[in-house]
Symmetry: C2
């Protein structure tokens, strides 16, 4: 039977200062007021898997996640070891109790405007995984030449929102701008959103071929969770894309135009929250005088006032304020690094 696996163990440092160690971005209501990213992913998972949802998270986030999503089963990683280990642990755990388990794996740090379209695409991908015992991904129809994502190359161009999966020729790494523009123009390339469906038995078989130590360890932990703390830290820290997907001989994709975007940095907020007539995306107590295309977020009654400012990100959250140009929003990691090295970890 079908199970949804939500990957919710990330730290989301590029969304600091809203995203903190004990309250990372998937727990924040960034995309929609009142609904966290992980709650949105869980709602999708419940819809496609008849309420069988397994949420993989980190120890530091268990309490906040449980409070936000009571009744959802949590699978807790003792340390973070990237997505190959997380997906493997979820697959082995579900295979242990259901040898016929089919998994839909969803990251928690994404936003989808067309939820019904998303559910239909997942249903098509799950059906392909069941019928052909193949890895079936969701390939997002690109809306811009994005250089921050990996892409999927199809054998032939495809319409979006079809009711069948199509053949994927290969995974391609983050392209440069010109290459990304050619991808968009060709119609043969889709965004890799890290969303895929496969049988648990297929997952374990692929791990045995491509990451055998991970395959062995996650089976052992599934049989006896008490060994997780000793076995898990030694697993290779590799993404499921790099460690498995790029090496698998046959993969299919369901092309989907569903308003998907990752919530990777503050620069993604306008796409989710919209903009005013001046191009500003303002959340909370803000006042923009003669400014355009800013992202301004205040988490309480603290007013953020700007005069003559364009293209800037200004975020007040808790005891910290971030100011960065929108086109350098990825570089917030540098603040995290500096805070760690300067002994200011209380702000992390």
């Amino acid at each position: 039977v079908r199970h949804a696996v939500i990957l919710a163990g990330g730290s989301g440092t590029r969304l600091w200062p809203a995203s903190r160690r004990a309250r990372p971005k998937q727990l924040l209501a960034l995309a929609r007021p009142g609904e966290s990213l992980v709650a949105a992913a869980t709602a999708i998972g419940r819809a496609i898997a008849h309420d069988r949802v397994l949420l993989v998270t980190a120890e530091a986030q268990v309490e906040a996640t449980r409070a936000m999503l009571p009744g959802i089963e949590l699978l807790v990683e003792p340390v973070g070891r990237n997505t190959a280990a997380a997906v493997g642990l979820a697959g082995a755990t579900l295979a242990q109790r259901d040898p016929d388990a089919v998994l839909a794996v969803l990251p928690a740090d994404q936003h989808v405007t067309d939820r019904h379209g998303f559910e239909r695409a997942l249903d098509t991908a799950l059906a392909a995984a069941e019928a052909e015992d193949v890895i079936a991904t969701i390939g997002i129809t690109p809306t811009r030449p994005e250089t921050g994502f990996g892409w999927l190359e199809l054998a032939v161009p495809s319409e979006s929102n079809v009711t069948r999966a199509v053949e994927v020729l290969r995974f391609v790494e983050k392209p440069d701008r010109a290459t990304a523009e050619a991808y968009v123009a060709s119609g043969r390339y889709l965004w890799n959103a890290g969303i895929f469906c496969l049988r648990a038995s297929r997952l374990l078989a692929e791990l045995d071929v491509h990451l055998p130590a991970t395959g062995r360890a996650v089976r052992e932990i599934a049989r006896d969770p008490s060994v997780a703390r000793s076995l898990y830290p030694s697993l290779p820290s590799v993404s499921f894309d790099h460690g498995v997907m790029e090496k698998v001989s046959r993969i299919v994709a369901v092309p989907a135009a569903i308003g998907w975007d990752d919530v990777g940095s503050w620069a993604a907020l306008p796409a989710m929250r919209g903009t005013d007539a001046s191009g500003n995306t303002c959340v909370g107590a803000t006042l923009v005088v003669e400014g355009h295309n800013n992202v301004i977020v205040s988490d309480d009654a603290t007013l953020i006032a700007t005069v003559g400012i364009d293209d800037l990100v200004v975020v007040k959250s808790g005891d910290a304020i971030l100011v960065v140009h929108k086109d350098r929003a990825q570089e917030v990691r540098k603040v995290i690094d500096a805070l760690s090295s300067k002994g200011l970890a209380r702000y992390l």
Copy 2:
């Protein structure tokens, strides 16, 4: 005998959000940690006038001023009517109790690095006012072609920090950039810092000629302070420079190179507080990653972190945050106007 008059009734809106209605900029320790601008001006006043200091302030600021400067005599304006009325009221009040009073009038919103030099210049100016019954100003030797100040034109170039006053030909309005550069090059122009010395009797005589209604009203209030509330609001709101100084036939100046600057906007902070190796002026909890020539101020443990930001003012104070380019720091008034018109006066 000599008296110091400190003009401390201003609102300082360009230093919002640190400067608020009930705690305007002169009450803030902007220039030196731990010493407010008004406390610094009062210390100068005590030194040159043997502790005879009269501080003119507004009703909204009485409580905070009294707490900060216990024992200093306050003269409270019922409403603000610019500096001609404030100086007139102080002069009439002091003349009432001391017909031979000589006044040194100092604004509270200034910063001087060379206090001893300042005291020597004031002593020279007071001596000129006493000996010649003339208005003797302090003329600041210019250190840049400042277009935000009025200037004094001398008959002939003069050295600074001399022990005599020199003749002023005229007051000139805020010049344009090219004119200001010519002023600096000529050696015949000084900044008008709004600092001047004169006998109280001379002050009242000049008011009778140039602002007769003000002269009459401040005398009446000095005799019976209870009429202030009815008389003061009707006085013309005009600066002492415009209303009196520009019209007086003879004025002298003491040229002074004493590290004087006004504290007019956040852009003035680097001159007072200094800069680090990257040109940043940081006060409080701040972290600048790859940034230059910023002014960043946090009033508590709230961290302000910037990445890749240059030439910006970022100030957190109380329940408000300001972000503005350094070269538009004068335009903070637009925030004040917008807050008033939008019903957000709680942030003023």
